[in-house]
Amino acid sequence: MSEATDLAQRAGDRDPRVGLRAVAALRRLMEQLEAVQVRSARNQGWSWQEIAAELGVSRQAVHKKYGRR
């Protein structure tokens, strides 16, 4: 019985909408987390270069996203 419910749920998970929504939500959550960490690093005096290295992106990319406009 519980196996049947399990299967039904997994079948539901095959609905691309559910998966896509989760990915989109995860991306938003990740953006928030990244902003928190970048801000924190800047407050502690980290350079854009150092932050970029840890994030695995270019210095320009980080600066463009979070630096002063």
Binding site: V18, R21, A24, A25, R28, L29, Q32, V36
Partner: protein, 187 residues
């Protein structure tokens, strides 16, 4: 832009800053403007909210906004989608706030936060103010009042609009209360 604001609208903006300070948030958000609008109790926007039964439901709104903050500003649906992946958003927010302060996870990525002792407006809050200006212009109203701020809050997709809609306050219902329609006749 602020010189075109009515006294009521200015009071809402000022109230939003106070709400922000009391909650210990880093930036003034659209949510703070909503809270200020509710407890202002004067002006056309507050009148519309009272007409729609929100005056006595301020606590319920505050609670809903609080829950949204714990979800990092994500909607209930988004948080549930993440729970489906085994991700507990509220746990992540709690840990981030422990280290980085209340509201750390609800700001936009370009929000600068506190600077020089006073708080800055988040991108969302600035967007609400800009929208309220556009709404006033579109309606050919010469001043920007608190009712335009309210309309802007309902029109802008986000936590404030979601919470308002959950309490029966939508762009349509506010417009109806403000400008009549459906049975309202002059004289």
């Amino acid at each position: 832009m602020f010189e075109r604001f009515t006294q009521d609208a200015r009071a809402v903006v000022k109230g939003a800053v106070e709400h922000c300070e009391r909650s210990g948030s880093r930036t003034v958000d659209a949510e703070h403007m909503l809270l200020a609008l509710i407890d202002r109790g004067a002006g056309r926007g507050s009148f519309a909210l009272a007409e729609l039964g929100l005056a006595e439901r301020g606590e319920s709104v505050a609670r809903a906004l609080e829950e949204a903050r714990r979800r990092a500003g994500l909607s209930q649906t988004e948080a549930e989608a993440l729970a489906g992946l085994g991700i507990d958003v509220s746990e992540i927010v709690a840990r981030a706030e422990e280290v980085h302060g209340v509201g750390a996870m609800s700001g936009g990525r370009k929000d600068k936060g506190r600077r020089g002792g006073h708080r800055s407006f988040s991108r969302g809050a600035r967007d609400v103010l800009e929208r309220s200006l556009r709404i006033a212009v579109a309606r050919r109203d010469r001043r920007i009042g608190d009712e335009h701020i309210l309309l802007a809050l309902t029109a802008r997709p986000g936590v404030a609009a979601e919470v308002l809609a959950d309490h029966g306050v939508t762009h349509e219902s506010v417009t109806r209360v403000l400008h009549g329609g459906g049975g309202t006749k002059a004289g």
